[in-house]
Each structure stands twice: as C-alpha cells, then as structure tokens.
Symmetry: C2
Subunit: 183 residues, 2 copies
C-alpha cells in the first residue's frame, strides 16, 4: 500500500546503551517521513509466552504471584519469558504451563502473537489456549513463588471487566478465549 | 490474605543503571520468600493512555502508523504516553484522541488500568471508551505521522480474533468495549 510509505521511519543507526540480564536498551536514530531525524529508545527483550488452560468444566488456571515492579499481588495466566532470541513461544507456553501448574494439554492453539508495548519494546508474546488437560506434578523454577488458582472462565471475564485483572496478557487471553468459545 | 506473605518479594535496594528520555532502568535486589536474594531489572516509564472512540454507528477510530521497534505498520487505537510521572491518564487519553483524530467525546469511561508487562516494567496504561463523538480539527505532534481509519467495532473484533491486530492495548480496548456493549 503506497500511502504507508508516508508513515515509515527509516532506522539510520542503532547503538546499545544498556546491557542487562533480561533486557538491553538501544538508542536508534530514525529518519522521519518528512526527512528530519529523531531519536528512539528501544528495549530489546527475548519475548514471552502465555497459556490460557481451560478444563472440561470451563475453568481456567491462574497463578497468584507478587510482581515487585508494580508492587502488587496479581492473578495471571501461566507465562514466562523465552530463554533465547528466536526460541519457539509454543514450546515455552507448554513448558511454563506444566512447570507452574503441573498441567499437560492435548490441544494447544495460538490465540495471538501480541505486541505488549510497540512504542518502545521489541517483545512479542505468544498467547495460547490449551484444552484436553491432565494433571501431573508441577516443578517450579527455584526462584518462582506462586499459588495456582482455578477460576470459571465466565468469572474471569467478569473480573477483567470490573478492572480487577489488569495484566495485559491475562486480559487478552481470557477475552480471546471467551470470544472464541462464546462469541 | 495471609498466604500472600509467602509470595512477597521484599525490595532490599534499587539503583538507577540507565537514564534515558522515555525510560529509565533500575537494578533491584529483592529478598525472596525463602530468604535468599535475587536481582531484578525494572524499566521505569511514565505510563500511558489509550481511547476506544465509538461513534453512533458503532465504528471505532484507529490510527495507522509505523512502529520502528517491531518494524511494522500497525493499526492501533489512539494512545500516547503521559508527559510526567503522576499525570492523569484520563486527560491524556482525551488529549491524544483529539490530537490524533480531531474527535471530542461527551462520555468517557475507564475500561481498565492495564499493566502491559508486569514482569519488568512499571508502566500502567489507562484504557478508556469514548462515546458521543463530534469531529473537530486534529493537531498532530510534529514528529507524529499517522493515518486515521474508521472501522466497524464488529470487524475490529474479527481482526483481533484472526491475529491481525496485535497491539496489546488495542486488543484489550476492542474486546472490552465489545464485551461491555454486547457481552
């Protein structure tokens, strides 16, 4: 589509200005569509994966955990970060579900590959729906502390709509699963 | 709830390790529930605001723009970042809507205050729904380049469900508005 050329920012240079364990930050110079240049700060992140696991009675499994960045105890769908750039989020979602809840699934389908914060971060987040669940043993990472909670999907939708569930991937997973099953 | 004490990570120290224009990064040391310590990388961001604007025929207004971080042309609901820590996202959502689309709204209600990436970022994102729209002049920031597109809300839901609309705030705004109006 030709009109889109009027929108495009052309990267002129990119330089790493912070290297961390979980993220890097780079400074980019871009050429704006009108020819001027502008700076952009970009967070590099390996990406993540999340899973809405739905049992035969249409309950979903959520994990209760403390998020120190926002100093809140949250209820979120099982999720984790990818271990390396280019890792398959499908495998990661399946692994995180089993690690955090002990659940394995017969059927796993991609709901969406979300962009949590396109304005400044390269993270992509694969959000999956799992059905045909069976219970096995969980095996948390040694620095993970969480409780698993089972909630009817319908109640989870209500708790999204009331503003209680605020984690973006959790809202997306719950509402897309609901829309897929009942939309 | 007493059990939640078993989940809590206690911040022991926090040090800024990168200061940018849009974001800062800090290193935190936390005490885990079992007494050990662990490092945490935290992105500090002023927060943002976004608006699903719905007209009398149930069309929504979206902006087509280039996101250089993910090198994609996206369709997103109007949104922007807060100018300072502590700014009111409501005012920012109203301002961004008018700047980007020229629309003013009689009714604005909060859908949710989302946490886009609770694992590593302090950003909160107020997502609002606007109705009772009237058209005025837009006035884009000088480094904003975008096209406004009007789409039926029902079609927007379908384009979320097909995986085409991948921006997290856009998915959340569209599905919460749909659920509110038709759930």
């Amino acid at each position: 589509m030709n009109l889109d050329q009027e929108l495009r920012e052309v990267p002129l240079s990119e330089e790493t200005v912070f290297e961390g364990i979980l993220i890097n930050v780079s400074h980019m110079q871009v050429q704006l569509p009108d020819g001027r240049t502008a700076p952009r700060e970009i967070v590099n992140h390996k990406g993540g994966a999340a899973m809405v696991a739905i049992d035969a009675d249409e309950n979903i499994y959520m994990v209760r955990q403390h998020r120190v960045a926002v100093d809140e105890i949250t209820l979120e769908i099982p999720a984790g970060k990818l271990e390396a750039y280019g890792d398959d989020p499908y495998e990661s979602a399946v692994r995180e579900l089993e690690e955090e809840t002990g659940l394995r699934a017969e059927n796993v389908e991609l709901l969406t590959s979300a962009i949590p914060t396109p304005g400044y971060c390269r993270e992509l987040l694969g959000i999956y729906m799992a059905t045909g669940l069976s219970q096995h043993e969980d095996h948390l990472d040694e620095d993970e502390f969480l409780h698993v909670v089972k909630i009817p999907l319908k109640e989870a939708v209500a708790r999204v709509m009331s503003g209680e569930f605020r984690d973006a991937k959790t809202i997306i997973g719950i509402l897309m699963a609901w829309q897929k099953l009942h939309g």
